[in-house]
Amino acid sequence: MQSTILHISRAQCQKGGEPLFAPIDLTLKPGQMAVVAGNNGSGKTTLLEAVACLGVFSYGGINFAPYDNQEKWLLHSHYIGHSLGNKANLSCLENLKFAAAINGIKVRERQLSETLDSVGLRGYEYQFASDLSAGQKKRLALGRLLLLNKQFWLLDEPFVNLDTTGCDWLFTCISDHINNGGAALLTAHDNKRIHEKADHLIQLERP
C-alpha cells in the first residue's frame, strides 16, 4: 500500500449557514486510527461525510497527500454511513458483487462467500437484504470493507446495532486493518475500548 496521508486543517462544517463545530485539525497516517467523539448534533456525521467527499468543508481544507485530487482519494477510501447502502431487494451476494463491480474491483464468487463467512452471514447468500436484522444489515455493509480492501476506512457509528460478539469482531477487524498499514476514521459516541485504542481522539465542540 502507498503511504497516503490525510490532512485536515482548521476545518469546519456548516449547517444552514452556521458552523457546527470549532475548527479541527487531524493528520491521519497509515497504521493509525482516529475517533471522532461528540454529543448528538455536534456534527460527527457531517464531518465524516465531508471527509468522504459526500459533503464539503465550509472553512479550512482537506488534502490527501500525495494525491491532490479527489478521484485518487476516492480510490483509496471507503465510507459506510448511517444509510448503509444495501439495496433491499438484492441478495447479500448481489449487494457485495455490485459494490465490488462499481468500484472496479474484480472478485471471484469464492471471495464473496468468504467475505460473507467472515462477517457471520454464512447461509444468507441468497437472502434479500431486507430480510436481515438491523445488526446483520450492518454486517453486510461492513463486509464491503473486507471485500474492497481500501486503505482508509471511514465509518459512521460502526458499532451501533452490533451485538457483543459483533463488536468484538469489528474491533479485531479494525485493529488488524491498522496493523496491516490501513487507517480508520470513525465516530463512536460511547465505546470506551475504541476510544482508548485511538491514536487521535477528536472531540467536537461548539464553535
Binding site: 461525510e49 468522504a52 467527499c53 459526500l54 459533503g55 464539503v56 478521484e71 476516492l74 480510490l75 477510501s77 471507503h78 465510507y79 454511513g81 448511517h82 444509510s83 448503509l84 447502502g85 444495501n86 439495496k87 433491499a88 431487494n89 438484492l90 448481489e94 455490485f98 459494490a99 463491480a101 462499481i102 468500484n103 472496479g104
Partner: protein
C-alpha cells in the same frame, strides 16, 4: 463497464419489484376508462382526442415514476456507493436513465397500442405513435433524472418535480402529440418527428450534466 453494472443492478431491482413496472400501465388504463365515461363513448369524439390523450397518458404515467430515480438510492445510501466509486457522475446518470427507460419507457411504448385501440385511434397512426414514443420516452427518463436529482432529499417532492419539468416537457408534447395528430389528418409527420429527435439529442447531451450538478449540490 460501470455504466452497465449500474444499469444491470437497476433493472434487476426494478424487475424484483414488478409493481413499479406495471403500475404506470394500470394507471393509464384507469385514466383512459374515464374519458368515455366523462366525454361520451362516441367513437368520433374519442377519435378526435385520441392522439393527444394517448400521448398525455404516456407522459403522466411516466411522470409519476420519476421521483424515485435517485430518491431510493439516496435513502438507502447506495447513491454514495456509486458517487464515491470514482466513476464519472454524468455516466452514472446515463446508466440510471437507461435503466429507467428500460423499465418504464419501454413498457409504455409497448402498451400504447392498447390505449390507442380503446380510443379508436385511426390505424394509420399506430406506427408514428410508436415511433414518436420511442424517441420521446428516453427524453422523459433523461429529464426525469434532472428532476429527481433536484428533489432527492425532500419529502413529497413529486408535485415539485412535476412543476420543475413540465415546462421542459411542453415542447416534447407539442412535437410528439403533433406528429400523431398530423398523421391522423393525413399529413406528413416527419417535421414533428425530426424536431422531437432534436429534443432527444439535446436532452441526451445536457441532462446528464445538469443531473450530475444537482446531485453534487445536494450532497454539499
Amino acid at each position: 463497464m460501470r455504466f452497465w453494472i449500474l444499469l444491470q443492478r437497476d433493472v434487476l431491482v426494478a424487475w424484483r419489484k414488478k409493481s413499479n413496472i406495471y403500475q404506470p400501465l394500470v394507471f393509464q388504463l384507469l385514466i383512459v376508462t374515464m374519458f368515455p365515461l366523462g366525454l361520451g363513448a362516441g367513437a368520433q369524439t374519442l377519435q378526435k382526442i385520441a392522439p393527444a390523450v394517448v400521448w398525455i397518458l404516456a407522459l403522466i404515467s411516466t411522470l409519476i415514476t420519476l421521483e424515485n430515480i435517485f430518491k431510493d438510492d439516496y435513502e438507502d445510501g447506495s447513491l454514495a456507493l456509486y458517487v464515491l466509486s470514482g466513476m464519472s457522475l454524468p455516466l452514472a446518470v446515463l446508466g440510471k436513465a437507461a435503466a429507467h427507460w428500460l423499465t418504464t419507457g419501454l413498457p409504455v411504448i409497448l402498451f400504447a397500442p392498447v390505449i390507442a385501440v380503446l380510443l379508436h385511434l385511426p390505424s394509420t397512426a399506430y406506427g408514428v405513435l410508436m415511433l414518436s414514443l420511442l424517441i420521446a420516452t428516453p427524453i422523459f427518463s433523461l429529464l426525469g433524472t434532472v428532476g429527481s436529482a433536484l428533489i432527492m432529499n425532500i419529502k413529497n417532492g413529486g408535485m415539485l418535480l412535476s412543476v420543475l419539468i413540465m415546462p421542459l416537457l411542453a415542447p416534447v408534447l407539442i412535437f410528439g402529440a403533433g406528429a400523431v395528430l398530423e398523421t391522423t389528418l393525413g399529413n406528413n409527420p416527419s417535421g414533428h418527428l425530426s424536431l422531437l429527435a432534436g429534443c432527444f439529442v439535446l436532452s441526451l447531451s445536457l441532462a446528464p450534466l445538469a443531473a450530475a450538478a444537482a446531485i453534487k449540490v445536494n450532497l454539499e
